[in-house]
Amino acid sequence: MRTLRHAAAIAWKDLRSELRTKESLNSSLSFSIVVLLLLAMAFDTGSEIVTDYGGGILWLAFAFSSTLIVNRSFAREMPNDCIDVLVASPASGASLFLGKAVAAFALQSGIQLICLPIFGVFYNVTWWRNPWQLFGVLLLGGWAMACIGTVFSALTVNLRLRELMLPMLMYPMLVPALLASMTLTNYLLMPGAMPPDFAQWLRLLIGFDIIFTTLALALVETILVR
Amino acid sequence: MFYGLAVAWGILAVYAVLLGLREQDLKKQLETLKKMVEEKK
């Protein structure tokens, strides 16, 4: 319970800080719109098969924009050694990770919800066919990105080349979750019944979330303590 | 098929060569540093 209280306090701190300055929120949102725009130019958005790759495009935009958010996650604690204060506080590493991951997840989800109608407009896609399932996939995939992103943000926070190393480490690790999210989103954008392997991909995504959240909670203390 | 086998051996040979080059480089660095320490003493 104490862990959850500490995590909630840290999440609220991060969210308040971000909502006041909106530095990563604005850049992340505009970057995801730019990515959607560029990919709309790369593909023929008028064709009927846009639902075959629409999920891929959407999640690419989300993946690129989430890097900007999670990069700030631990980087904002660097000035004035705030990270050392946080580590020395009674809050455990797990609650620190949980709080920051939840904050990153909340910010990401906000951006995802704004991008969804924009995606619908740019690509002429009916995304509200299965809205609740789609939101479920956005939540699961978003948590995967927030979880892995926060851990690697902690890992790379002291590096000179942080902005370069974070995406380099994050994306290969995220591939299973991204693949599952993209496939499930494609299925949910298509008309008609769900293909038979829908459940398999959903299991992969949920399994990924569980495994990496557990690993992250166990190992983040080791990363942060110097 | 021969290209496939050749590439398998080739990659391992390249790695062995890289290890050898690194070995030589390390030896040179060690020599230079030992000389530097001797001179400074």
Partner: protein, 228 residues
């Protein structure tokens, strides 16, 4: 002592490799459906086993480092990861050649190939992370954590051949499937070549480990020289 081990491994491994190459090329018969191209498999699969062995050792040593804080474990983890990457590259590229001949394409986004590539990229990221951190303790700690995360991709690559049945050939080894799907002589050669490649991997790891220790000695000497 260590050079004696390397010599012993070399005396076992190198003749075995050469003997295997001779047997693979000249003694073993062609495979029924694929013809002679299947012989690439005798390096493709053993290289994957050698790489997995290296990655597993790296993961175990990373955990040992995080528990015991001995720099030696970190050095072994690094050496094993580097050698594992080399063997994983052999696995990927021999697979590409086999695919080009058998399927007509260099690459397919089949789950097994995708996972093998992801695995390679993740461990390459491990080496990049090590290069980016200057402080040795910080480097060892962070690399150790990344190694543990990265091992999940190895575990999934290993299982991918069972979970997904697609373009890539399915499992054939009797120890995995419980039945004899390929000729016993072929299966035996796979194991013998795995042993040969694993011996080669051990030689590489020991050499790399020694170089890492020399590097640490150089770093210490450099600090001493600048302090004088």
């Amino acid at each position: 002592m260590r050079s004696k081990i390397v010599l012993a491994l070399g005396l076992v491994g190198v003749p075995l490799l050469l003997r295997n190459l001779y047997v693979i090329l000249f003694n073993l018969p062609d495979e029924m459906e694929q013809g002679p191209v299947y012989r690439i498999f005798y390096y493709h699969l053993p290289a994957f086993f050698a790489a997995t062995l290296c990655y597993t050792t790296a993961m175990v040593c990373s955990i040992l480092y995080l528990v015991k804080k001995s720099a030696r474990y970190d050095a072994i983890a690094m050496a094993c990861t580097e050698v594992g990457l080399a063997f994983a590259a052999v696995n990927l590229i021999t697979g590409m050649f086999w695919g080009r001949i058998s399927w007509g394409i260099w690459w397919a986004w089949d789950p097994r190939l995708t996972w093998a590539l992801i695995c390679w990229l993740v461990y390459f990221g491990y080496l990049m992370l090590r290069k980016a951190i200057d402080d040795p303790t910080e480097r060892a700690k962070n690399a150790g954590v990344l190694s543990i995360f990265a091992y999940v991709s190895v575990a999934i690559t290993w299982k991918a051949i069972e979970w997904w049945r697609t373009q890539h050939p399915g499992p054939v080894l009797s120890i995995r499937t419980g039945e004899q799907r390929i000729d016993p002589a072929m299966e035996q050669m796979l194991y013998v070549n795995t042993l040969a490649l694993a011996t080669l991997a051990a030689i590489f790891v020991i050499t790399r480990l020694r170089q890492e220790e020399v590097q640490r000695e150089i770093d210490a000497l450099r600090r001493y020289a600048h302090a004088l």
